[in-house]
Every structure is written in structure tokens, then in C-alpha cells.
Amino acid sequence: MAVCGALVRSGRLSRPICGRTLSLIGSRPASVKRMASALSYVPETAPSDFGETTKMNLFQSINSAMDVALATDPTAVIFGEDVAFGGVFRCTVGLADKYGKDRVFNTPLCEQGIAGFGIGMAVMGATAIAEIQFADYIYPAFDQIVNEAAKYRYRSGNLFDCGRLTMRAPCGAVGHGALYHSQSPEAFFAHVPGIKVVIPRGPIQAKGLLLACIKDDNPCIFLEPKILYRAAVEHVPVGDFTLPLTSAEVVVEGKDVTMVAWGTQVQVLREVCNMAQEKLGVSCELIDLRTIMPWDSETVIKSVNKTGRLLVAHEAPLTGGFAAEIASTVQGECFLHLEAPVERVCGYDTPFPHIFEPFYMPDKWRCFEAVKKLINY
């Protein structure tokens, strides 16, 4: 006990382990691959008419969007868990200092409260920007989103609405997130008439689409691929600009295969485009859907009518995932143009695993195989 006492008083029991102990654990084995470094983000260039740009990663571009929103709209507020100090992903850094604690504030730990509170603010005409810490934790808010936010305008005959509400949440695989820090819940919300669901593929897109959501007069859910927060860096316009909602973008033009994705998966399919060209001589047209709901079916249909082949890929599980909706629409609208059945490369119908993530993901090899299947049908 005396020894214990000495250790306690010197603070040794609460210090991190010393160097001698550390050397017994050994250094990082070469076999440990850091999944995040496997992602290579290809930076894009902003249209020149959006003005001066500066280098920003994804969380900085989102911060910039919210900075613009609060600067230009005196009713705009940001709230959620831990947003005041800057947020667990640094998306709100500096905003509480700049705009005050009445406009950027923490809420108690309660997603249903965050959603309900946001709806109430929006009903009164204030621009409410709510943060849900992880999309995996959005489900307590599901009732408020589905039964209230989505239906506010319709049920009241346009007497009331909560169009000023935007809810943001980090989504998607991060390499080690497992069941509860990796989910992509877009399909749940796509099934609810009355809300918009938007997912950006990079910093420029994120800022423009987020500002569009904030200004849009419908409740929006903005899902941010968390793995891109630091990994995606490009020169983002510093000013106020928006990108259109319900407008899919052809990111790579091609003529043989149409590929549709959103968020991080767009980056994965960029690589698949290159692989298909190099190894198969196949020209792929890559479309970023951007808005999941209401989605721009016209752009996709036009592309598939041209190519005759469609691949849709997403991290969310296969069954009931949004690829199913796209595939179903395409087979109805492009039936006679199709050269092969629609391919969907998705997460398996399991909860998002921890150690098995490399096998679970719709990675470039699985997508490449799907392209081969489409070509060889």
C-alpha cells in the first residue's frame, strides 16, 4: 500500500505509459494498412465566376459555408452536440466566437430534441442549421424528420412549413468506424416525401450544395462523407455561391458504361474509370447524383440511353439501397436501350463491420468486376 501511495502522490498512476513500457509493445507492423490513406482524392477546379478561391479541406469548406450563412442571414443559427467549441470534426471552429453563443450553441445530448427544436425554429422563420454528430445517431430524430419536418407544409395546406431547416451529419466509411460510425442512411430518408437529401463529393461541392440547402425552402438533410473531411483538399471559392439541387453532374464523360454514385464513392469510381480505360479500353461516364431526393433522373436516363449499361455503387447495404430506386427507374425508362442488366455494387446486407471493412466495401475491384460483367454480358 505504501508503494501505491507513493505512486498516487507522484501522479505516476495517471500518467501515460513511459518509454520503457512502450518499447516492449514494439513499433507499428508493416502489415497494418491505414485504410484512410488508400483513398486518393482528385481535387477539382471551381468555376472561375465563383471568384477568389483558397485551399480548403472538406470540413473547412463546410465551415466556410456556415460562416457565409451566418454572415448574410441574421436569423441563421447553428446548434447540436459540441458545436460551440468547434465540433468533433472541426466543422464549426471559430463560429461561436465570431457570431456569439446565442447563434452557435450546444444542445443537450438528444437527437430527437435537436430535430424538434430545429423544426420549431424553422417554423418561426429562422434559418436553423442543426448538426447530428454522426449519421449513425440520427435515428432518434427519425420521427421528427419523417412525421413532422417532411409533412409540415403538406399537412397544413402550405400554412406552415419548416423549410428553413437544414440538418447536417457526417456519414460513410472511415476505415475503422464499424457499425456506428460508418453508416450511410440516405435510403431511409429518400423514402420520405417532403425532405431533400444531399451528399457532396468534395469541398467545392460541399460548400455550394450546403449553401443551397440552407437557402432552400424545404427541410434538407446534408450528409457529409467524414473520410473526406481532411483527405479532400482543393481550392474553394471564399464567397457566397450555390450549386443546384436535384441536378446530377457528369463528372467524367464517356460512351460505353454509365456509372452513378455519390459522396466518397465518386472518387472510387473515378479510379475505376481509369482502370476500365487502361485495362479494357472501355470509356465510362461517371455521374455524381449529388441530390438523392428528389433525384435528377433525367441526366441518368439520358446517359444510359447513350451507353446502354449502368453501374450504381454505394456503401449502404444492397437491399433497399438507393441503387434499387435508380435501377428500377432506369429499367422502366431505358428498357430498349439496355445492353445488360443494371449492376449494383453495394455494401453487403450486414451491419457495417469493424475488422472486415476491406471486404465489405464496394471498392474499386468489385466495381471493376461489375464493369467487366456489363461489357461481357
Binding site: P108, P140, E148, G157
Partner: protein, 463 residues
């Protein structure tokens, strides 16, 4: 009548905002002369605990130094559990007794006689409306109805104490509040019959009223969802700088929902000028309060959130009025929530889909019918020479004929144009809905005999 929520379109929705008003702006609210004692939570807890632990007393001081408690907490060496029934049950504030006698003259509200009579008449009108609409539903003319029997005083007393510009969120059993604020019988009938004159364009089941003109947000079926919304609305109200509050009605059952907990906690931590009004009527459909909670009602929970509270006799319109008026002042002056728990009784069935004889005795119901809010106020009025049986008969006839007139107008009125099925999902109709609308139109045109097309307003007649 000043309205926060103006009726004009587009920019009107943002009319609430008075830009740049400071939270500290002095607000003058007329002092109430009644001396109600609210169970005020002590200041050590109501003060916002800062996000940084600022009480930097040294550890040499033998006091608890945890960020999780306020500065008033002390150590104890006694292994004593705080039993839930150690403190007495929160008392029920009342002004008049069951015989209509004012017990403490200082508590009699300063209400002009014509206002008190107006309260009574509106209670009777509501009661009449309920009775007729119950029958209308039984006849199959409307799909569903919910009566307000037994809660008329809770409605009128609270509504009369609010400013018309205060925004209200409700549950579903607050029709009296609508009537008080000027919602017409035609408005109610149009909503119940889903006619083309229903402001909601026929989209909701009966009794889900809402009105921009009277600042009462459209009600919805899911229980308690309005509670955290009311907190957000109150926050926005505070930000606007207007000396107004938000009032949120809900029942004893709804207060068990997670949304109620969320709403209480958010309102308290974010300093929202929100008046929580809980109608504790003893039942949530068939579930009595003994199966809904174990503690001392809903008022006892307030202290846990750092919220001031009062329990009132919900059948005593004066008590409800006094409590609401005083609570409102606290909300606005101190920018904090207050909870009123109005104890009352649900005399009617939960709804027309319910038969309460299957879970409670008719003796119990009869007892409360005899001491209903209407009877209580009637006794008071008659005792004070303001009312008599002749006036009663005359007014009841008048109420009945007014309701029937509105009924006859609404019952055969055309429903909204069929195209209203597809609009207002978003602010503008998206392409996919346009396609679906066209598809529906084509189908209905081909199969028009199979659909009740003649009941709906023709498209070109739609405004």
C-alpha cells in the same frame, strides 16, 4: 389584432424577425396582482452552468468539486436515499371551490364581467359543438371526432391569459383555445369535413386544426412531437426580441414520450420563454395515470429540469387564468420555461374510436360530470347574478343553431380539387411529382366512374 405570423406569402414567414435585438433588451410586462407561488427552482440550479467549470474553489476546501452539480451542494456521511414521497405532493391551486365560492378574494382575477361571460358562452359553445359533431360522426358523415368534455376551463382560462400574438403549439384536445382566439365554427366544420374551404386543403383527419391568423400551429397526430418544436419556436421568439412567449399544450400520456423529456431539457438549458401547459385529464385512451407514471404527476418532474412549476385545478377557469397569466410573465421577463400542470378529467371517450365504458365505471364519469368546469362556472355566475336558467336555455339554443348552421354549410360543400393531392409536398412541385400527377389525372379520367370525382371541386373552379 397583432399577429406575429402574418397571412401574406413568401417573405411573410420571416415577419417574426426583428433583426439584431439583444437578449438583454428590457421587456415591460404588466405585473399580475395575484400572488401565486410557483415552485421556483433555486437560483443555483436555474443559472446556466457554463460550458467551462468556473467555480474554481481549491480542493483544500472540503466541498464537492464536481462540474455536474451546482455550487450549493454539500457532502453527507448519511447513507440516506431521497425517497420519492418524502416531500408532500405538489398542491393544487384553486380560486373557486366546487360550490362556486371564491375562497380567497385576493385571488379573484381582475376580469371584466363580460369577459367571464364570454368564457362561459364559449365553453358552452364548445360543448354544443362537441355533442353535435359526435353525432355527425356516428352518422358516418365525418370519419372521426374527439370531444373536449371536461377540459373547457383548461382551454378558456389559459387562452384568455395569453396575448393573441403568443404562438401556440397543441396536441389535439385544445379546440376551446381555438374558439377563444376567434377560430370560427365554419373553420372547424370545414376542417372536419375536409372541404375545399379547409385551410389545410383537406389533408388531415378531423379536429387537427391550425391557423396562421390566430397563431396556432397546425396540430399533428404523433404525440408530444410539438414539445421540442415549441422550445425551438420559443428560442426564435427570444431571438426576435419580442416580449411574447410560446405556449405548448400536451396531455399526461404525451408527457411520457421522449420528445417531452427533450422539450423540457432544451427549453431549460437554452433559456426559452416557453409555457408548458400539461392537461392531466387522468387517461391516455384507456391507460390511467397510475399506469402512466409513478411519481407525483408531471409537475414534480419540473424541478429535475430546473423548471418552475405550478399545479392548478384545471376545472377552475379562474385558477387556470391566474396561473397562466403569472407563468407567462415569468417566461417573458426571465426568458425561461414554466410548467403548468392543469389537473382535470376527460369526461368523454378518447375519441369516436373509443368506448371508455370498457375501462372505467360510469359512476366515476358521472361524478366528474356533476363537477364539470361548465357546471362550476355556471354555479359561480348564477350565484353572482350574472347568469340564470333562462339565459342558459336561450344561449344553448343559440349555440345549437349556430353549430347546425355551420354544419349545414359544410356537410355538402365540395372537397378540394383532386390536384391538391400532389401539391405542397415541397415548396415547388418537383419533376417526379409532376409526372405522377399527370399519370393520376389520366387514370382518373379513364376510370372516373370508379372514383368519387363529383364530390371534389372541379379544377378550373379552384382558386
Amino acid at each position: 389584432m397583432q399577429t406575429i405570423l402574418s397571412t401574406s406569402m413568401a417573405g411573410a414567414r420571416r415577419m417574426l424577425w426583428a433583426v439584431g435585438k439583444s437578449l438583454q433588451e428590457a421587456v415591460s410586462v404588466k405585473e399580475s396582482s395575484t400572488h401565486l407561488s410557483f415552485m421556483q427552482t433555486s437560483s443555483g440550479f436555474t443559472k446556466r452552468l457554463g460550458s467551462t467549470y468556473t467555480n474554481a474553489a481549491s480542493f483544500a476546501d472540503d466541498r464537492p468539486q464536481f462540474p455536474g452539480t451546482g455550487s450549493k451542494v454539500r457532502f453527507t456521511e448519511k447513507l440516506d436515499f431521497l425517497l420519492p414521497d418524502t416531500s408532500p405532493a405538489i398542491p393544487v391551486y384553486r380560486v373557486i371551490d366546487r360550490q362556486g365560492e371564491v375562497l380567497d378574494p385576493t385571488q379573484k382575477p381582475e376580469l371584466p364581467e363580460d369577459v367571464i361571460l364570454d368564457m362561459y358562452r364559449k365553453m358552452v359553445l364548445l360543448n354544443t359543438f362537441d355533442a353535435i359533431m359526435l353525432n355527425v360522426q356516428r352518422q358516418g358523415r365525418i370519419s372521426f371526432y374527439m370531444t373536449n368534455y371536461g377540459e373547457e376551463a383548461a382551454h378558456m382560462g389559459s387562452a384568455a391569459a395569453l396575448d393573441p400574438a403568443d404562438v401556440i403549439f397543441g396536441q389535439y384536445r385544445e379546440a376551446g383555445v381555438f374558439l377563444w382566439r376567434g377560430f370560427t365554427l365554419d373553420d372547424m366544420m370545414n376542417q372536419c369535413f375536409s372541404t375545399h374551404q379547409d385551410v389545410h386543403k383537406g389533408r388531415m383527419v378531423p379536429i387537427n386544426y391550425g391557423s396562421r391568423d390566430i397563431n396556432f400551429v397546425t396540430m399533428s397526430s404523433p404525440l408530444a412531437t410539438q414539445i421540442p418544436q415549441a422550445a425551438g419556436a420559443a428560442y426564435a421568439m427570444r431571438m426576435s426580441g419580442k416580449p411574447l412567449c410560446v405556449t405548448c399544450y400536451f396531455g399526461d400520456g404525451a408527457s411520457s414520450e421522449g420528445d417531452a423529456h427533450a422539450g423540457f431539457n432544451f427549453a431549460a438549458t437554452l433559456d426559452c420563454p416557453l409555457l408548458f401547459f400539461c392537461r392531466n385529464n387522468g387517461y391516455a385512451i384507456s391507460t390511467p395515470t397510475s399506469e402512466q407514471y409513478r411519481g407525483d404527476g408531471i409537475a414534480s418532474r419540473a424541478a429535475g429540469y430546473g423548471i418552475s412549476t405550478i399545479r392548478v385545478d384545471g376545472n377552475d377557469v379562474f385558477a387556470v387564468y391566474n396561473a397562466t397569466k403569472a407563468a407567462r410573465e415569468i417566461c417573458i421577463k426571465e426568458s425561461k420555461p414554466v410548467l403548468i400542470e392543469a389537473m382535470t378529467y376527460r369526461i368523454g371517450d378518447h375519441s369516436t374510436s373509443d368506448d371508455s365504458t370498457t375501462y372505467r365505471t360510469s359512476e366515476e364519469v358521472h361524478q366528474f360530470q356533476q363537477d364539470s368546469p361548465i357546471t362550476r362556472l355556471n354555479t359561480y355566475l348564477v350565484k353572482n347574478g350574472l347568469w340564470d336558467p333562462d339565459k342558459e336555455t336561450t344561449y344553448r339554443e343559440e349555440a345549437k343553431s349556430k353549430v347546425l348552421e355551420a354544419f349545414h354549410g359544410a356537410k355538402d360543400r365540395k372537397k378540394p380539387p383532386i390536384s391538391d393531392l400532389m401539391t405542397d409536398v415541397y415548396d415547388r412541385m418537383p419533376a417526379h411529382l409532376e409526372r405522377q400527377a399527370a399519370s393520376m389525372r389520366r387514370h382518373v379520367n379513364i376510370y372516373s366512374e370508379q372514383y368519387p370525382v363529383q364530390d371534389f371541386l372541379e379544377e378550373d373552379k379552384a382558386v
